[in-house]
């Protein structure tokens, strides 16, 4: 967690609305962009983002550092809610696993935080570029399209085994690409 995460958590834990103000200022655009990418609907994206931030506001006390940074936690909530909305269900069973420790991040000031985000954005974009078009497509259909592996198999008219292989190898390659450049810790 960054020092700025600590400050936001402090405010959220004491039910100070300034905590949500800070969180929204920092990650509102990212959250909305993610929701819109999944839902392709501005109104639905707004609803999901509002629900996600309110969820953080109400459940700040349940936050665990082993879930990753506040950004990771928030994006995870946005992503799950967007997928649930896309699929028209109230929720599905998921694994609840701790994430590895986040890599050390930069200084607390907003400027450096923005620079760090831009760098991370470049990193993931470059890393995704190392995947084959098919692997990237499979990952995007899964993560942003909300399709299950069976649905992807049906959509693309390819064997389910091929979808599973592309997903596993694609995610492994993505991880390696990030590790090799020192952008995430070696696993």
């Amino acid at each position: 967690m960054t020092p700025s995460d600590d400050r936001m958590l402090e405010l959220l834990a004491s039910a100070d609305p300034e905590g949500i103000e800070m969180l929204y200022s920092r990650y509102g655009r990212l959250a909305y962009s993610l929701a819109y990418r999944v839902l392709s609907d501005a109104g639905a994206a707004e609803d999901v983002v509002q629900e996600a931030f309110l969820s953080v506001w109400r459940r700040a006390a349940t936050y665990r550092a082993d879930r990753g940074s506040l950004r990771t936690w928030l994006c995870s909530i946005v992503h799950h809610r967007a997928l649930d909305r896309l699929r028209g269900r109230s929720g599905r069973a998921r694994l609840d696993l701790p994430l590895e420790k986040a890599s050390p991040e930069t200084d607390a000031s907003d400027t450096w935080d923005q620079v760090a985000q831009v760098l991370e954005r470049d990193q993931i974009t470059v890393a995704l570029g190392e995947l084959s078009a098919e692997q990237r497509q499979t990952i995007e259909l899964a993560y942003f399209g909300g399709y299950s592996q069976s649905e992807i198999s049906e959509l693309l008219r390819i064997p389910l085994g091929t979808v599973k292989g592309r997903t596993r190898i694609g995610l492994r390659k993505l991880r390696s690409a990030l590790e090799v450049r020192g952008w995430v810790a070696q696993s």
């Binding site: 609305p17 949500i20 929720g91 701790p98 991370e120 909300g146 592996q149």
Partner: protein
């Protein structure tokens, strides 16, 4: 009881789960495997951390101002409600020192009773169905020979009488001559008698990855859906090349 799986199979399922695409029936065996395999738990953590970076790959778009306004209005309302409740309790506490024990006991027994009611209610409520609610239906759409890479889906909410068409793999319409507006993709609902009814225009997402359209009304009366390339603003009947189609009938 779930069938045991190998670490290789587990890794495949872990990758899918990290992306949110694991088929539901595969989750129990994955859970069971992870309970007994520290190596795979580490893999799960690694894959989840990797997937958690994917939001950064999305092109950022500015949310509408009203979103912050709505959110903060709700947050401040809840914060103010909490402060009111806590100050009310503090006032009661100060006013009735002799009844503090009674107050605490009453609060505790009320909480326990409410908890029992909640537990009872939850246990008597039937489990949520795993399958899609009856009011929701999904159909796939595929590109024609003109646009073979196009693919997508229609998700229809019969209760809300609204369908969302989402398409990937469709290129931007060809550039138009100077002074002419570019063509647009128009969506049609096809009646059983083959008459095409204009339904919507596809809108491209800011990151150029997805085209979407929202269709209002009861689509169950139509046999299929199609999209064609039309002049800017659309047409009253199809004039252009069909790029996409899909059946709207179940099975």
């Amino acid at each position: 009881m779930s069938t045991p799986i190998s670490c290789g199979d587990a890794e495949t399922r872990i990758a899918a789960e990290a992306l949110g695409s694991l088929d539901a029936q595969e989750l129990p065996s994955l859970r069971a495997h992870l309970e007994g395999c520290a190596t795979c738990r580490h893999t799960a953590s690694t894959f989840a951390s990797t997937a958690a970076l994917l939001p950064l790959s999305v092109s950022e778009i500015e949310p509408p101002t009203r979103l912050r306004t709505r959110l903060m209005a709700q947050v401040y309302a809840e914060a103010s409600g909490q402060r009111s409740r806590s100050s009310l309790l503090q006032r009661l506490w100060r006013r009735v020192p002799s009844a503090r024990a009674f107050t605490v006991a009453t609060a505790l027994s009320t909480a326990v009773a409410m908890g029992a009611i909640v537990v009872t209610t939850r246990s008597s409520r039937p489990p949520a169905p795993r399958s899609q609610p009856a009011s929701m239906a999904s159909f796939s759409v595929t590109g024609t020979t003109v646009q073979p890479l196009a693919h997508g889906s229609v998700r229809y909410d019969a209760t809300a009488q609204q369908a969302v068409l989402s398409v990937q793999g469709l290129p931007e319409p060809p550039p138009a001559p100077k002074g002419v507006l570019p063509s647009t993709y128009e969506v049609w609902l096809i009646r059983p008698n083959a008459v095409a009814v204009p339904a919507a225009l596809l809108t491209e997402s800011p990151d150029h990855q997805t085209w979407t359209a929202v269709i209002h009304g009861d689509i169950s009366r139509f046999r299929s859906l199609a999209a064609t390339l039309e002049p800017a603003g659309g047409s009253s009947s199809p004039t252009g090349t069909e790029v996409l189609n899909g059946s709207l009938t179940a099975g």
